[in-house]
């Protein structure tokens, strides 16, 4: 038995959450310290997994399997492939930066961080993080659902309790119900797969490696692919089921928005890939045009809606819809380039949008407004945050030498292979994105500061700077040296293509 690193990564947040809950409520700093320590621990371990994954060997690695419910063939089965390893790293990074951002600021003018019940906040946040890790590393369908749901429900509390007062109740409920419905529909599909597999082979197992070989009939795949895929993809913000996402993003407190857009949306996309496409490849083949259509609409429509937003956070929220549309677009091609790009885009968008929300949060905490026309001059007051946002903006626009380009380019190549029209139409989003990103950078950071804000905009804290730098580092690193991540994802793509029967 090897060192059970994936198990430890997954359960670190849960244990941390328990420990945090045991700290007396008044000792806020202790709660924060424990949170930070465990986030660092998880980050180090996930980086270790990332760097010691054997890319030459490929496939699933760091396997751990424990019997959990033998009667139903449920095992606690962890393992990562080239697709999920970057996402584990991403989760580690976002968790680490999310804790830093939520630390709080001693400056009384600044309403930053989490001041109200930080103990519960970090506990719920870590519950969420544990669920996310669990989904990325689970190779057992039941456990995947188990962790998936764990990742969903803390969102409700995190948004409803610490969110933006005006919309939090509505948004939290909408989000939770949407995601819950989506996941349970997928669950039914998953159960159907298990039983068909049982009837075919006589062994009852939720093990996805076994289910890959189940040989579902074409009809079965055609029926079940769509509910399973769309059920998960709801969390990925796929059009037309994206409606919950901007509301949720806007209402959530900063760290939760980061988690939500940065990691949770990937959770949906990843599960849609792992369960939808990998287990029902022929169904995917049948429905890919529909998915491609949805994704194409999401890409352009999301960008357009983002363009017309006046609320800074809504803008970022809708831009996520657009960018996650690209991920799904990549999936829908079912070819090497598309999947490669989708894998990269998941990571790239994760760090980018986490950075966006972090900066938006920092601005809101100081300016107490998010209306873009009411903001201005932030570059002078908080130059570091401005720099971070600009780098994020360039990633978002798909500017070369930043991770966004490295990710989007292969997606478009993949789409070219399948349907050139979609590639051409979707590419409009690039210009729209450039337009709104540039416009907002100009207004928020470089326009003259309104007199009402003059004086009480302070610079961000050191912790914020560390968080911003960490996120920027990855975006630039991947942009300049795609080889940091591309070979890893290529092995993951091989793993998917193996099931699609293609090259």
């Amino acid at each position: 038995m090897n060192f059970p690193v994936l198990g430890i990564i997954t359960f670190t947040p849960f244990v941390a959450a328990l420990i945090i809950l045991m700290i007396p409520a008044q000792r806020k700093n202790e709660a924060r310290a424990v949170a930070l320590a465990s986030a660092v621990f998880a980050l180090v371990l996930s980086a270790w997994v990332y760097f010691s994954y054997d890319q030459a060997a490929g496939g699933y690695q760091f396997l751990e399997q424990y019997n959990w419910l033998p009667a139903l063939g449920i095992t606690l089965f962890f393992g990562v492939d080239g697709m999920s390893t970057p996402l584990v790293l991403l989760t580690g990074v976002v968790m680490f930066t999310g804790v830093l951002i939520s630390w709080g600021d001693d400056n009384p003018h600044v309403n930053a961080g989490i001041q109200d019940r930080p103990r519960e906040f970090f506990a719920f946040l870590f519950l969420l993080a544990g669920g996310v890790f669990g989904v990325f590393v689970s190779l057992d369908l039941f456990m995947l659902f188990f962790f998936y749901e764990i990742a969903v429900f803390p969102m409700y509390l995190l948004i409803a309790i610490w969110g933006w007062v005006k919309t939090r109740e509505y948004a939290a409920m909408k989000l939770t119900l949407y995601l819950f419905l989506g996941s349970v529909i997928s669950l039914v599909g998953g159960l159907a797969m298990v039983w068909v597999q049982y009837n075919n082979t006589g062994t009852l197992s939720f093990n996805m490696l076994v289910m890959e070989t189940a040989g579902f009939s074409q009809t079965f795949q055609n029926i079940w692919f769509l509910p399973v895929f769309l059920g998960f993809a709801t969390l990925g913000g796929i059009w037309p089921f994206h409606n919950w996402s901007p509301d949720g993003h806007v209402a959530a407190p900063t760290a939760v928005s980061m988690f939500h857009a940065g990691v949770l949306m990937k959770l949906g996309a990843f599960a849609a890939l792992r369960v939808g496409i990998m287990l029902l490849p022929q169904g995917a083949e049948t429905w890919k045009w529909l998915i491609m259509g949805f994704a194409g609409v999401a890409v352009v429509y999301g960008a357009y809606i983002a363009f017309v937003q006046m609320d800074f956070k809504y803008m970022v929220g809708f831009s996520s819809v657009s960018h996650m549309g690209l991920v799904v677009l990549g999936f829908s091609t079912l070819n090497r380039e598309g999947l490669l790009g989708a894998g990269l885009q998941m990571f790239s968008h994760g760090v980018m949008t986490a950075l966006f929300f972090a900066v938006v949060g920092m601005i809101y905490d100081r300016a107490h407004t998010r209306q873009i026309p009411e903001l201005g001059g932030m570059a002078k007051a908080m130059p570091f945050a401005a720099m971070g946002f600009i780098i994020g903006g360039l990633v978002s626009m798909g500017m070369p030498l930043f991770s966004g380009f490295v990710a989007e380019f292969p997606i478009f190549m993949g789409v070219w292979r399948e349907q050139w029209l979609v590639a051409v139409v979707s590419s409009i989003s690039i210009v729209i994105t450039a337009a709104y990103i540039m416009r907002n950078i100009r207004q928020v950071f470089f326009a003259d500061m309104p007199s009402s804000l003059e004086g009480h905009i302070t610079d961000v804290t050191v912790l914020d700077k560390i968080a911003i730098s960490t996120l920027c580092l990855f975006m630039v690193l991947i942009g300049i040296f795609p080889n940091f991540m591309v070979p890893m994802i290529e092995t993951g793509v091989d793993n998917v293509l193996r099931l699609l029967g293609g090259s």
Binding site: P400, S427, I430, A434, R442, P482, N483, E490
Partner: protein
């Protein structure tokens, strides 16, 4: 030395970017330090490219100083660098203009660190376009150059900078959208982005075979226009030029220098490096349209320039006018590939790129010099300044004459070659080119008119007393500024008197390429 020989191009390319990165860690608020650091960091590539110029063996066919590194192997793209005579002259122009522009920006006092960093990044972006032999890497650098330029205009520009920088960004990004798509298409079709092999495979594609459900001919035509529009926006060709006057006018002086001196060349370079070799058939077929647009740019550029009352706008429109000649030469060459006339026209076009780089940079700098002192660019507010600033006046007249195409200065040589080449094409093969050339000659007439108008309004006529005394008293051009102008003027004169040293390299490249 061995290391330098084997990594010459990547050194030239990355020294500015690495230097800019290091600037991040320099202490705050040390403006002098930033300025000198940036200047030295940009002089290093210049020295290296001079070295490359002398090491370059113009008779050897193909690309030289080639280097190739793994970049994005998964989609078949590598960092493949290499130069021929065409690109080497552009590299030289870029590495020359950048230190001059940085020197010209010593008067910038705000956010010097960020300014200098952006400039160095910009240099890497431009050099990358000229050096890359990989279509994707070409595109990467093509796009990346936009960002520093955007911020240079947006942050250090004048009053209307927000509008201008946005327009610049959206125009060029929108223009390169088609390029992006076409690049993707090529990558998908051939699985590689290496230019050398794309030249081969793309042109030898059977025009009747089916691609993406359309005939290869249609696809190629669409891709041709996608490329063309991207480059036409950048050149800029009429009617895609409207971003240019705004951007030029609002940009800080050094930004305008680089914009006019190098950035516009990127578009023309794209025509030469990509469109002519990749789409010889289409280029020939549509050369008439290109020539028409080029002539329109020449004529309208001249007219528009004449109508300006803003000194900087006047110079900006003159760029449209001059770059029109570049495209005219290219169009003529596309019409009659392989003929002597075509070669002459191409030689002219490439030399015109180089020359315009020198004179436009000089002109913008001189506009900047006077603007810094008077804080106005309104031609009506100048007048009779020659007695006040005789040295400046002399330099301005000299540079203007180069722009006007006075024999003995560089502009004459290149414009003559273009006209000679395209007229030759007109006489020998495609009669319509003769008409276009004739109209272009008319445009040349107006070039003289607007340049003389500019000189007259600034230097001659009744003196505006406002600038003669008191707090607004105009001061003479200073040493630093003269240092900026000396290399430009020297080259202008040298090429004007003895163009062979550079034409030789260009001509050999043209002969080998086309």
């Amino acid at each position: 030395m061995d290391f330098i020989d084997t990594h010459l191009l990547s050194l030239i390319l990355f020294i500015p970017a690495v230097a800019a990165f290091f600037m991040l860690f320099l202490p705050k608020d040390e403006n002098k330090l930033f300025q000198w650091f940036a200047l030295i960091a940009s002089l290093l590539p210049f020295v290296l490219s001079l070295y490359a110029w002398f090491e370059f063996r113009s008779i050897q066919p193909g690309f030289q100083f080639e280097e190739s590194y793994d970049w994005y192997a998964a989609i078949g793209s590598s960092l493949h660098l290499g130069v021929d005579g065409l690109s080497l002259s552009m590299v030289l122009l870029t590495t020359l203009l950048t230190p001059l522009a940085i020197l010209a920006s010593f008067s910038i006092t705000e956010k010097v660190k960020a300014y200098m960093m952006l400039f160095l990044f910009l240099e890497t972006g431009m050099l990358g376009v000229f050096m890359s032999l990989d279509l994707l890497v070409f595109f990467v650098f093509w796009e990346v150059g936009l960002v520093p330029m955007y911020f240079l205009i947006n942050q250090w520009g004048s009053a209307n900078r927000n509008y201008a920088s946005m327009k610049f960004m959206i125009y060029t990004m929108g223009g390169s959208l088609g390029l992006l798509l076409a690049v993707q298409l090529l990558g998908v079709l051939f699985g590689t982005y290496d230019l050398v092999s794309l030249y081969q495979q793309w042109t030898s594609l059977d025009p009747d075979s089916a691609l993406l459900g359309l005939s290869a001919q249609t696809v190629k035509t669409i891709a041709f226009w996608a490329f063309t529009i991207a480059f036409a926006v950048k050149v800029p060709l009429w009617p895609f030029h409207t971003w240019l006057p705004d951007a030029h006018t609002e940009a800080p002086t050094a930004g305008s220098m680089i914009l006019a001196g190098v950035l516009l060349k990127l578009g023309a370079y794209g025509f030469l490096r990509l469109i002519l070799p990749l789409y010889p058939v289409e280029a020939k077929y549509f050369a008439g349209a290109l020539a028409f647009l080029a002539v329109a740019a020449i004529v309208f550029g001249a007219f528009a320039s004449y109508a300006q009352s803003d000194f900087k706008r006047l110079v900006a429109y003159s760029s449209v006018n001059h770059m029109g000649f570049v495209v005219l030469g290219i169009a003529a060459a596309a019409f009659a590939v392989g003929t002597e006339d075509a070669r002459i026209a191409l030689n002219g076009a490439i030399l015109q790129m180089f020359n315009h780089g020198l004179s436009a940079a000089g002109m913008f700098f001189l506009v900047g010099v006077i603007y810094e002192r008077t804080h106005t660019r309104d031609l009506e507010k100048f007048g009779g300044l020659f007695p006040l600033v005789p040295v400046y006046g002399g330099i301005l007249i000299f540079t203007s004459m180069a722009s006007l195409g006075l024999p003995g200065l560089n502009g004459f040589i290149s414009e003559f070659l273009v006209v000679r080449g395209s007229f030759g094409v007109g006489v020998n093969s495609v009669p319509v080119m003769a008409v276009y050339t004739a109209v272009a000659m008319l445009g040349l007439l107006f070039t003289g008119a607007y340049i003389l108008k500019g000189i007259k309004k600034v230097l001659h006529g009744p003196m505006n007393e406002n600038w003669a005394h008191g707090e607004h008293k105009l001061t003479e051009i200073n040493t630093r500024e003269i240092v900026v102008m000396i290399p430009l003027m020297a080259l202008i004169l040298w090429i004007g008197l003895y163009p062979a040293w550079i034409l030789d390299v260009i001509n050999k490249a043209v002969v080998m390429l086309f």
